[in-house]
């Protein structure tokens, strides 16, 4: 693919994500100007990119979205839910096109934006779409450049062009500006080139006054009073904060009020001048606070009033503006804008190569450990040196690992960001109003782990909404708020990343679960009856279990919680569920922070060497033979007053009955999905760091094996998934 297109792909994908984020945030807080501007900018940049790679269809589609946003802006109304939906559809279409580019390496020639165009045209109805006015602000740039020292503090730039006869009218324009609060810089310019001194008319004002002010534009606007109509006032940095914006609206209202009073107290003779002046000031004020529709109305009314020589039309328009709805409430703007960090874009594949190499390096380091042991056995004089070097190598490799893991670390927000939208869509489809609350999305984990989370979380969220959350009527009847809350919470727990999905829905009905398990013959009746409540809950993880009465689009596609558990265990994680009937359900997915290195303990059983993931091991101990007692066909031991099921590894693995095993061998106590299990082995070996490779070929899908790894001496170590044994 050509480099330009490759870059375009990367950037466009980021922008699509960004725009979707902003749109969803905007839907929650329609008045958030910052989000609005961010979204608008993202669409605009996307469109620009499409232009660069000459992708006309994408340009057209994005143009429609941009127009819809611009219309909302120029009408000073919050973006409608319909607009947001359409813009999201537009992003979907763009994402599809980007996929096409990625797979074909070229801009799709058959791309057709007609659907998107139709979508927006429908939404807009017959109304013409307004285009925002671009402000020509070269003078601001000049002013800022001329006063670099104060420019960073300036919030407002002002250009004041007093009327030519202002000196006659007892005005002192420079003094007016001097009196403004927070004056930072002042420039005086002549409107027309200075004549020679003898030709200068000292009573005609030829000045243009430019100034930088520290306070917000509302303060300046208020201080300028009537003269504001001769001023261009521009807000320089960012948007006003919520509080400022409030005061802006209040001050604007005061100014409007003042105009009404002026008009009402005016004598007939001076009416026309007053009408014109009040109309101008009011229009200026309204435009300034972003109520351009009302500004236009006032301007029209002023023109009508002047033509008809009566106040009424303007007074009515002003009254409407004064009482009119305040502009969209401005939600608190997230002030946090990360400082620019220096970054280098490296493709994920390159880092993956690095990760693989580190894996090999770990194996190689382990091999050196093996050599060191051999040297020790032969009492080689090199033993000491070898040992030292091996230890040093081990440290370096560990450091390198950490560094590389750090490179692959991603915040969970990379996956979480797609869920608000998913929930929004599912919620609409199922007609169950729900909001998704994200917590701890800044929690980080290895990229591979973060990516593993996507599928399971989609399932869990679907289940929560489809099966967990009741419809609004049922919720109200149960005394709950009609809108359900689904909480997606992530946090780091030592070497694990935990993600919890909690809903405040109906909870899981254990009796129903048992009934279904019985109906589907998932377990024999007597076993079902013996299950504790928690064990019954865990039935939902069994393959073939689905409680949906009807197959819906959202869930019930034959993938259920068993898929979630499989996905989690594939990377060494596990899933558990807790539920309170009528109160809600929490599904917790626990995954290792990184898939890079697994610590295993080697054990010997039946003459073979196996690995046990160390994170499962709670303790190792030896017990007397007579402390092991039979429970039915199985065995158990009592540890800390708890009965723990015991399996003999050799017995489990033996395919022949005559394999002998040591029934006094050490016992490994392991934590398996919230419960303890005991495994008796013949001998416990060493602890090693390994790169666990999923089993493939003949061994793929073999139960009880978590993966394999290469040992220092070149032999293959099979790593056990103990949960399978104790079950």
């Amino acid at each position: 693919m050509d480099e330009l297109l490759a870059q375009f792909l990367i950037e466009s994908r980021e922008l699509v994500d960004k725009a979707a984020d902003d749109l969803l945030a905007l839907e929650k807080a329609p008045g958030d100007r910052q989000r609005f501007e961010d979204a608008f900018r993202a669409f605009h940049t996307l469109k620009g990119g499409a232009g660069i790679v000459e992708f006309a269809a994408m340009q057209t589609a994005l143009h429609c979205a941009e127009d819809a946003l611009a219309a909302a802006r120029s009408e000073s109304r919050p973006v409608s839910s319909l607009d947001i939906g359409n813009c999201l559809s537009c992003l979907d279409q763009v994402a599809e096109w980007l996929d096409a580019i990625e797979s074909t390496g070229a801009v799709p020639v058959d791309a057709d934006p007609a659907d998107i165009v139709a979508l927006f045209a429908q939404a807009a109805g017959s109304e013409p779409i307004a285009v925002p006015r671009a402000s020509n602000a070269e003078w601001i740039d000049g002013l800022l450049r001329a006063h670099p020292a104060v420019a960073p503090r300036a919030q407002t730039a002002l250009r004041y062009t007093p009327a030519a006869d202002s000196f006659f009218r007892q005005q002192d324009p420079v003094a007016t500006i001097a009196g403004l609060p927070g004056l930072l810089a002042l420039d005086l310019r002549q409107r027309e080139a200075w004549p020679t001194l003898d030709e200068l008319d000292p009573f005609a004002c030829n000045l243009t006054i430019e100034a930088l002010l520290a306070p917000d534009s509302a303060t300046a606007l208020a201080a300028l009073g009537d003269e504001a109509r001769h001023c261009e006032i521009e807000t320089l940095r960012g948007r006003p904060h919520a509080a400022d914006s409030d005061s802006l609206v209040r001050k604007a209202a005061e100014l409007l009020d003042a105009q009404v009073h002026l008009l009402e107290s005016a004598e007939n003779t001076e009416q026309l001048g007053r009408i014109a002046s009040a109309g101008l000031v009011a229009t200026n004020v309204l435009r300034h606070v972003g109520r351009s529709a009302e500004a236009d109305a006032v301007a029209t009314a002023a023109a009508v009033a002047i033509a008809e020589r009566r106040l009424q039309p303007l007074l009515e328009a002003l009254a409407a503006a004064v009482q009119g709805p305040p502009p969209a409430e401005v939600a608190a703007v997230p002030a946090e804008r990360r400082g620019a960090k220096q970054t280098v874009r490296v493709s994920a594949e390159r880092i993956d190569v690095l990760v693989r190499l580190i894996g090999e390096l770990v194996v190689s380091s382990n091999a050196m450990g093996h050599v060191t042991k051999l040297a020790e056995q032969w009492s080689s004089p090199l033993t000491g040196t070898l040992k030292n070097q091996h230890a040093a190598l081990g440290r370096l490799v560990a450091e390198l690992q950490r560094a590389v893991v750090g490179m692959r670390v991603l915040p969970l927000s990379a996956v979480f960001r797609r869920f608000p939208r998913l929930v929004r869509e599912m919620s609409a489809e199922l007609k169950k109003p729900a909001t998704l609350v994200l917590e701890g999305e800044e929690t980080e984990a290895d990229k591979a782990i973060v990516e593993t989370l996507v599928e399971p979380l989609v399932h869990v969220l679907r289940n929560a909404l489809d099966h967990g959350v009741e419809d609004a009527a049922a919720r109200v009847a149960a005394g709950k708020p009609p809108v359900a809350t689904i909480r997606l919470r992530a946090y780091r727990q030592r070497e694990h990343v935990v993600v919890e999905v909690t809903d405040d829905g109906a909870g899981i009905d254990i009796a129903k679960i048992k009934q279904i398990a019985h109906d589907r013959r998932l377990l024999p009746a007597d076993e079902l009856a013996a299950l504790t409540d928690q064990e019954s809950l865990n039935l939902i993880f069994l393959p073939g279990f689905s409680t949906a009465k009807t197959i819906t689009h959202v869930s019930g596609r034959g993938v259920g919680m068993d898929a979630v558990r499989t996905a989690a265990s594939r990377v060494g994680g596990h899933v558990d569920v807790r539920s309170a009937l009528g109160k809600g359900t929490t599904v917790r997915v626990t995954l290792p922070f990184s898939v890079l290195v697994t610590q295993v303990m080697t054990v010997e059983a039946g003459g073979q060497l196996f690995g046990i993931p160390l994170d499962a091991v709670v303790e190792t101990l030896r017990v007397d033979k007579d402390k092991i007692f039979p429970v039915g066909a199985a065995h158990a031991i009592v540890l800390h007053d708890r009965t723990i099921p015991l399996v003999r590894l050799a017995e489990m693995l033996a395919d022949r009955a005559d394999v002998r095993w040591d029934d006094t061998g050490p016992i490994v106590i392991a934590q398996l999905g919230g419960e303890l299990g005991a495994v008796q082995v013949d001998r416990i070996g060493e602890r090693i760091d390994v790169i666990l490779k999923p089993l493939d070929g003949l061994l793929a899908g073999l139960p009880g094996l978590a993966g394999s790894t290469l040992l220092g001496d070149g032999s293959v170590l099979l790593v056990l998934d103990l949960a399978e044994f104790v079950r």
């Binding site: 007093p162 202002s166 000196f167 007892q170 005005q171 002192d172 324009p173 420079v174 003094a175 001097a178 004056l183 810089a185 002042l186 420039d187 005086l188 002549q190 200075w194 004549p195 001194l197 003898d198 200068l200 000292p202 009573f203 004002c205 030829n206 000045l207």
Partner: protein, 105 residues
């Protein structure tokens, strides 16, 4: 009287100079083309007076007492004076060069 000619070389602005003094200043500046403007005791300049000073491009002498005049107006007047002088100087220089060329031919 807030605008007055001290001697042939200096025009002094004192106290508050209002709009109607713009014309007075204009006449005095025209009468004394080489005079500098002394404004140490000046407290306020009306926009119209500032405008005359800008058009005249005279150098100011001293530093007025008020922050606004000293910090905001003084640099503008100085810039304007320097710019006009440079422009005048350039014009004079190029005129001289042209004349030289003509003479040479």
């Amino acid at each position: 009287m807030t605008v007055r000619m001290i001697d042939q070389g200096v025009i002094e602005l004192t106290g508050r100079c209002g709009a109607d003094e713009a014309e007075v200043l204009q006449h005095q500046l025209l009468a004394a083309p080489g005079a500098v403007v002394e404004w140490t005791r000046c407290e306020h300049l009306h926009s119209a007076v500032i405008q005359v000073l800008l058009a005249a491009g005279r150098l100011m002498q001293g530093t007025p007492n008020t922050v606004f005049l000293a910090d905001f107006i003084a640099p503008i007047l100085t810039r304007s004076a320097v710019r006009q002088r440079t422009a005048q100087g350039l014009r004079a220089a190029s005129q001289a060069a042209e004349e030289e060329q003509r003479d040479g031919l």
